[in-house]
Symmetry: C2
Subunit: 423 residues, 2 copies
Amino acid sequence: MSELTGNLLVAQSGGPTAVINASLAGVIQEAGRHECIEEIYGGLNGVLGILNEELIDINEERSRTIEGLKTTPGAALGTCRYKIDFKKKPAAAARDMDRLFEVLAAHNIRYFHYIGGNDSQDTAHKIHEQALARGYELRVNGVPKTIDNDLPHTDHCPGYGSVIKYVGATVMEITTDVSAMATDDGACCVIEVMGRSAGWIAAGAVLAQRQPGDAPHLILTPEILLDEAAFLEKVRAVVAINKYCVIVVGEGVRNAAGQELGADASRLDAFGHPVLSGAADHLAEVITEKLKLKTRTVKLGYAQRAAAHFASLTDATEAAACGVAAVRAAVEGKTGFMVKIVREQSSPYQWTTGLQPLGDIANVERLIPRDWFTADGFLPNEKFVEYARPLIEGEVKVTIEGGLPRFVELVKSRVEKKLPPRA
Amino acid sequence: MSELTGNLLVAQSGGPTAVINASLAGVIQEAGRHECIEEIYGGLNGVLGILNEELIDINEERSRTIEGLKTTPGAALGTCRYKIDFKKKPAAAARDMDRLFEVLAAHNIRYFHYIGGNDSQDTAHKIHEQALARGYELRVNGVPKTIDNDLPHTDHCPGYGSVIKYVGATVMEITTDVSAMATDDGACCVIEVMGRSAGWIAAGAVLAQRQPGDAPHLILTPEILLDEAAFLEKVRAVVAINKYCVIVVGEGVRNAAGQELGADASRLDAFGHPVLSGAADHLAEVITEKLKLKTRTVKLGYAQRAAAHFASLTDATEAAACGVAAVRAAVEGKTGFMVKIVREQSSPYQWTTGLQPLGDIANVERLIPRDWFTADGFLPNEKFVEYARPLIEGEVKVTIEGGLPRFVELVKSRVEKKLPPRA
């Protein structure tokens, strides 16, 4: 273990989650426990803000605010989708890296933690490699985050448990509604959730089933191309039994030809422009037309990944622990890793954190194995359920004021800039 | 006070809410306290099930289940949108009424409580009038219910407080997400909520504003025709200040020509109203095209009216009290009323229940007064806030099992049929 004294910089990137701020709190609180870490800075809007030297002084924030981050959704530092892309824009990427290391050096930053998904871990990996190449002593450890749950090597990703807990509860609630309204005419509800290429969120809705046959009756994921005829037959059969059918669909589900359902270019509006509807709206149209069933849609959108008011305590706890682990590893001299969650056993659930080289993460996307679905592909099976069930356990206690959540906001006291503006 | 001994029939109608079952629990628990009420029956799927003599014996249900109804969304007895329509189908309506009174007489039903919105109170009113005309001694008192909050004479409707509490929290959460992602490019999110002709739900989202200028930045309601140019200018101005803009839109919002933004005139529901969808998608298209801002949509659909996991305790308490009051009034000899909520004062909030003749309710729809909006019509003002704020106070405690809500279900022990099937 080599002692390295200097400042710490933490930033957030990509789509927010209900618990990405819990990871931020974990980083900050752990950093405060180590004397080798002098100042704690936050980079605004991820690497984009860092390039613009937009740093805030975390030690100016109240401890109560930092603790409150653990139940505040969004991303308190702001995020970005900015990519330092050496492949497509090598000259710009080289300039960005020069600038980035100027900023790091100007503020004596020796610890860097990037909280994010695939692209963010890729960025962290590049910064790690550049630090080595430039001989700039910097400890870079990524903290995983993504509702999509598609990062490799980690058992699951912070953010995922909360989104499927919320989606599961929402499916249960909608089912009480749809079933109450169902008459002999039959009725369907299609609930669209996020997940462009991985179906983890849609699949997680299966936890709403207390018994076999409960809603959701069908779950469509991007992993399995949709056989429309088989789908309609299944819906028909479910309605014949229940009088209603609840379907969960991931936004990126594709048809047998491999085209996204929601990007059907064959339909034109009054001006002759293609109508781009969502996957749920598309399915509702098909069901209405082919089965003559009244079908309503729900599109949870951003609501699902921000739903702190029903976040998973397990998820929030793990998210914070990942932040803590990243700092601990750095203080112990480790760099170039992403923290991962290691499942020790499912029942009772036991987990710990581990480290995975950042180079193993970038651009690898983990999908749901085919044998985690039923034979017909319309529902996840018991293997998936065993995997997902522990992740939604426990409820985060959000502060309520006047009947609504009271989230914290950072004061964002700016660190004085030491460099000329970015060219 | 005239003593009337016999059985009680309760049924639910129209769209479910997070608390319509709390009203049912109120009716059942109060009915159990009066010796003049012998059996307590539930009618399945509203008047439709009653016509088919589909009654269940509530005394076969466990007390724990009845108590659990207070935190279970949906409509435990099932609902319908069936209308006994003397105007459009006089012969069928006359047959229905004959059949209905056969069922009531066959089961010695002397107390009838219908829990529902405008159309359901209209049905209750007709049954009351028919009972008088037929000389059948029946006490008919309606229990109000509707997330739309558009019933006249009652200060507000059970179901409304819960939906705006959920929508308010969701707007707050989505705002943390949108604001975290906002860069100089600007971003918008349009959240579509229910409200066919009244904008109470959309307006309720204003409670998410902790301070002036907070999201939601614009709220569009059916009460005010949309001036698209003024709307776009307002969005542009908000984005110039915040880099992002959060908009809440009621599904029934109309343009300057009076046409619904999301109307599809080809689809009609059982009452002949057009099925609306797509106000948010329409606005997102306009914003993207005219302002070149990345715009996402959220369509909460059924999720909003079933969200028991974040229901208002004030709302659930009032819903149960309305059920209690309906039975008490009937036992005291009153008939032909709808229970209403009477506000005694707003701060601190004090309320009681009252009675309004059913004839005053039918086909009257209450809209938001124009002077409850700001001058430009894009936000409700302090008059609305004073009205709505008390309704979301307190949180219902839903039983959680395995990380998800545990709702109750009725056993639904059928009452033996005494009549031949409905012709």
